[in-house]
């Protein structure tokens, strides 16, 4: 129903142009690049005959530091090898994309779904519902996430896949902050005229939440989301730093970065490559988020159209016949 009027002739070209802003293209491109990297980590690393597990001890010096330029960069080891064990760093990063991106996306998804749902409900239904949900958020806030993570890593059987555990932990502890933000915004949006209008129309709460309130939350939510994904990847890194991240040998950016920090002065490339990957992904998501929230903001659409109409005035001319085919409006004054 929401796309009802999008199919109107004048709209036929909007979806393409609206979502074709440079931010979306660049951001989407970067994100896509990493998604592809994750998917094709196998074939890609196979090009040089590497995998993220094999040790290349011959490439290490007597102090277990990679020999050669830039941490052992060579045609067969594009990013060099790691100190101590001489594992191919490119393979680690390529395979690590799976874990890191997976954790970032999946846990964010969980948090956002729970957080938005609970935030909306708490903000929209005052009184008991709000009180109960808000206090639940308090419990989660008050509960040290780290402690929980550490405890869980001890309690949960090790046969339970660690990445999944991290996704769940990060997901279930990440929602309250989203929920609270959403709740606050919902409180404000509930008092907007158009929300009352929908209520008076007899719209169900679901309808109002989805159609009146959600769109108003979107810009904030998208920003929060794009902040969240890299935040989760970083959180995985922090957990690794404290020793409760992904278990070896599964490669992950977080663990690699946390291991590499100490080597910053000895083998800087060990830190720079995964750090750069993390930064690029963050940057990509942020660009994408900025672009998306612009694309979803009607005022921005209007602005975009402005420049666009100038460019595509020809197409508009041909379309105007279609537009006019809609029965002309009656009574614009009688004498034209």
């Amino acid at each position: 129903m929401s796309h009802l009027l999008r199919r109107h002739p004048t709209h036929s070209r909007r979806p393409r142009s609206r979502f074709a802003s440079p931010s979306i293209l660049w951001g989407g491109g970067i994100v896509l690049f990493f998604v592809l990297l994750a998917l094709f980590a196998g074939p890609l690393t196979a090009l040089t005959g590497n995998d993220p597990y094999s040790e290349h001890r011959s490439l290490l010096g007597p102090r277990s530091v990679p020999l050669g330029f830039g941490g052992g960069i060579s045609p067969s080891h594009w990013f060099g090898v790691t100190p101590l064990r001489g594992v191919d760093l490119f393979s680690i990063i390529a395979y690590g994309t799976r874990v890191s991106l997976g954790i970032g996306l999946a846990s964010t998804l969980i948090s956002v779904v729970i957080g938005v749902a609970i935030g909306l409900i708490a903000g929209y239904f005052p009184g008991v519902t709000d009180a109960i949900l808000s206090r639940t958020m308090d419990v989660f806030f008050g509960f040290p996430f780290l402690i929980f993570a550490i405890a869980l890593s001890a309690i949960v059987p090790d046969s339970f896949p660690r990445p999944l555990l991290l996704i769940l932990v990060l997901g279930f502890f990440g929602w309250p902050s989203i929920a609270r933000l959403i709740r606050g915004q919902t409180l404000t949006l509930t008092h907007r005229g158009y929300t009352s209008a929908a209520q008076v129309m007899g719209a169900s709460s679901t309808h109002i939440l989805l159609n009146e309130i959600m769109p108003g939350l979107l810009p904030l939510l998208i920003v929060r989301l794009t902040l969240s994904i890299p935040g989760r990847i970083a959180a995985e890194a922090s957990l690794s730093f404290l020793g409760v991240g992904i278990n070896p040998p599964t490669p992950s950016w977080g663990r690699t970065i946390s291991d590499a920090v100490a080597w910053a002065l000895v083998d800087p490339m060990y830190l720079i490559f995964p750090g750069l990957a993390l930064f690029l992904v963050t940057f990509g998501f942020n660009l994408l988020g900025d672009g998306l929230s612009d694309a979803l903001d009607p005022k921005a659409v209007i602005r975009a159209e402005m420049t666009e109409t100038a460019e595509t005035s020809k197409t508009t001319a041909t379309e105007s016949s279609t537009r006019n085919s809609a029965p002309a409006v009656v009574q614009q004054g009688g004498n034209r």
Binding site: M1, S2, H3, L4, L5, R7, H8, T10, H11, H191, R192, G193, Y194, S196, A197, A198, Q199, V200, M201, G202, A203, S204, H207, N211, E212, P215, G216, L218, L296, D297, P298, K299, V301, I302, R303, E305, M306, T309, A310, S313, R323, A326, P327, A328, V329, V330, Q331, Q332, G333, G334, N335, R336
Partner: protein, 645 residues
């Protein structure tokens, strides 16, 4: 240069009442376009100090867009071309001396030379005091608020929701007071005085209130107060009285005229109410389709309308036709044009319905309100601004039968909107009951409530904020259909197109966002949405306040037609007694939250019992017997006119 001066003289010498004065604002060839499609074409206007210039025209013709270009308050997407020059009134003598001859030809913008705009600033004798308003170097901050005060069309959204009204007005004062010359108390006092001047009854409370705690009319007056507090030279008032009841409207108009005279203020009054134009404007420009189609001194224009559109405008005004028995002397004035027939036909209908009513008295009413009282709770933990405000409604009772319309008229802030909100279960009364279709709506919950509400159409007073800003207006009109019907999308689209045509909107506008529409267009979107489901009860809160007479007529006809077709009950909130007479069967007059009197329209208007009703009737702008010398029609202001400062 020469052509410029000529154009200027042409404009300024059209009528002897201008006394050869020099325009304070000259607009030439102003065109505004949105994404390279123009909405106004070569508009030329003159504003004179001490004069009230009216800009009338159909909804969406570009009135707001044109006027907002002067203080450069157009949306950023607007492209403005042409010229607009401000010239201080000091050096007017020269121009006055040159005024020699009267040009009776309407000054159509397309006549004037293209080059005029750029030259104005270099006019030799006034260069020091003239400001090119559209130049990028124009001192916008001095212009806005200081030279040009602005009253916006939609009063509900114009205030920052967080600070108090008093604070926001004080701030306007600060921007144009050099240094810190005013103490806090002084500022507050000034603001309170100004609030009182615009006719707000309890300035202290208004001062301390937040925007959401005020009624539409209260906000509108606060806006006016804010616009004039710095004594600007020019005031642009975009439909400043739409949310006001007639008495207040009259007061505001009187105030504006007084200000114009006293302070030598040039006022550009945008309105669709020809009655208002007649009563207060000195000069009128008529706009249609983005062009000025006709202009002239008020009387002349009313007496000899040249353009068909102008005539139509004049004809379509719903006139207050008061039966002979009324004590009001102006009652006999019957419009010049053909609406007599219609009005009497309608009167007939009302009489019929009255007869039916007595028969059906025992059948249950569609709406039955008994002994409803409501007081706004004190909001927030810290905000005690509503302290001292008494109950918004006290002991309200009335009924509306199916197929009948009850008009609710009353002072601004009387509690009309509050009552409408109670009827639609947005607010719950502290006492009393509201039965709709026999159900106590207050006790309904969940799907029962939603079901009940699907039979209620509600036109919001603040049409702009009642539309989702992130959705196209087509979506908004379709919303009730998507909620309550299973129509497929093409059926819905057809329905939306039909509805838009019904209310006089070009269906092509369906793909626009609310912010891209004019005030009247937004309002009609709201009406179309309310009618989408053929409600059994229609609550319309000042649904035509922003509409020009043609559009208004169209909407009222639509209401009639649909009511005949679906025989819904209607609560119609308005302040226009003319509309009341045209559309309503019964009328309730509300003051300070209490119904002063109610009954069939004709009998109430003919035999008003309550003093307030009488005041209302007196205050209603009547287009008196035409032609009428302007001096007599303005006699009430005459004394004020003399007190020039």
């Amino acid at each position: 240069m020469p052509s410029q001066t000529q154009a200027l003289m042409k404009a300024s010498t059209e009528d002897e009442t201008w006394k050869g004065e020099h325009p304070i604002i000259r607009v030439d060839n102003l065109s505004v376009s949105f994404h390279s499609s123009p909405v106004t074409h070569n508009i030329s206007l003159r504003l004179f100090p001490g004069r009230l210039t009216a800009l009338v025209g159909e909804s969406g013709s570009g009135k707001s867009v044109t006027s907002m270009a002067l203080p450069r308050l157009d949306p950023p997407t607007a492209r403005v071309s042409g010229s607009a020059v401000y010239q201080s009134a000091i050096s007017h003598e020269h121009a006055t001396a040159q005024t020699t001859k009267t040009d009776q030809q309407p000054h159509i913008s397309s006549d004037s030379s293209k080059s005029s705009g750029s030259n104005t600033t270099h006019s030799s004798d006034q260069s020091s005091d003239s400001i090119d308003l559209l130049s990028p170097n124009a001192p916008v901050r001095t212009i806005r608020g200081g030279l040009i005060g602005t009253v916006f069309q939609e009063p509900m959204a114009v205030f920052d929701p967080l600070p108090t009204i008093g604070h926001q007005i004080e701030e306007a004062l600060e921007f144009h007071t050099p240094g810190r010359s005013l103490s806090r108390a002084e500022k507050k006092q000034k603001v309170l005085d100004q609030l009182r001047e615009v006719g707000l009854p309890d300035p202290q409370r208004i001062w301390a209130s937040r925007p959401h705690e005020l009624s539409g009319g209260q906000l509108q007056r606060a806006m006016i107060a804010m616009a004039i507090i710095n004594r600007p030279r020019v005031l642009i008032a975009d439909e400043p009285t739409t949310a006001l009841d007639v008495t207040t409207q009259k007061g505001i108009l009187a105030l504006l005229t007084r200000l114009a005279h006293r302070r030598q203020l040039a006022i550009l009054l945008i309105t669709h109410d020809m009655g208002v134009v007649w009563e207060s404007a000195d000069y009128v420009y008529v706009m249609q389709h983005g062009r000025i189609v006709e202009q002239g001194p008020t009387r002349q224009l009313f007496e000899h309308p040249q353009q068909a559109y102008t005539r139509e405008l004049l004809a379509a005004v719903p006139r207050l036709t008061i039966p002979a028995t009324t004590p009001v002397t102006t009652s006999a004035t019957i419009p010049v044009t053909a609406s007599t027939e219609h009005a009497s036909a309608h009167a007939h209908v009302s009489r019929e319905t009255m007869a039916e009513k007595t028969e059906s008295e025992k059948t249950s009413a569609l709406v039955e309100v008994s002994h409803v009282s409501f007081t706004y709770p004190c909001h927030g933990l810290f905000h005690r601004s509503s302290r001292g405000s008494g109950p918004a409604l006290t002991d309200i009772s009335f009924r509306i039968d199916a197929g009948k319309t009850l008009a609710l008229v009353g002072e601004s802030g009387a509690g009309k909107t509050t009552l409408a909100q109670i009827l639609s279960a947005q607010l719950h009364p502290q006492s009393g009951s509201v039965l709709i279709n026999g159900q106590n709506i207050e006790h309904l919950k969940g799907s029962a409530l939603r079901q009940a509400r699907s039979h209620i159409g509600y036109v919001f007073q603040n049409s702009a904020s009642a539309l989702v800003p992130t959705r196209t207006v087509g979506w908004s009109i379709a919303e009730p259909l998507t909620i309550h019907t299973n129509l497929n999308s093409s059926a819905i689209r057809d329905r939306v197109t039909a509805l838009m045509k019904d209310v006089g909107l070009n269906p092509a506008l369906a793909s626009r966002y609310p912010s891209q529409l004019s005030g009247g267009q937004q309002q009609r979107v709201g009406i179309a949405r309310a009618l989408a489901l053929h409600p059994r009860l229609l609550i319309a809160d000042e649904p035509t306040s922003s509409l020009d007479v043609t559009a208004q007529k169209r909407v009222l006809d639509l209401f009639h037609r649909l009511q005949n077709e679906y025989s819904y009950a209607c609560l119609f909130i308005t302040h226009d007694l003319g509309i009341v007479q045209e559309i309503a069967d019964d009328v309730a007059v509300i003051l300070h939250g209490t119904i002063m009197e109610q009954g069939p329209v004709d009998s109430v208007l003919a035999h008003p019992h309550a003093d307030y009703t009488r005041t209302l009737l007196d205050a209603s702008p009547h287009i008196g017997v035409l032609p009428q010398p302007p001096h007599t029609s303005h006699s009430s202001h005459a004394s004020a006119d003399d007190e020039r400062e």
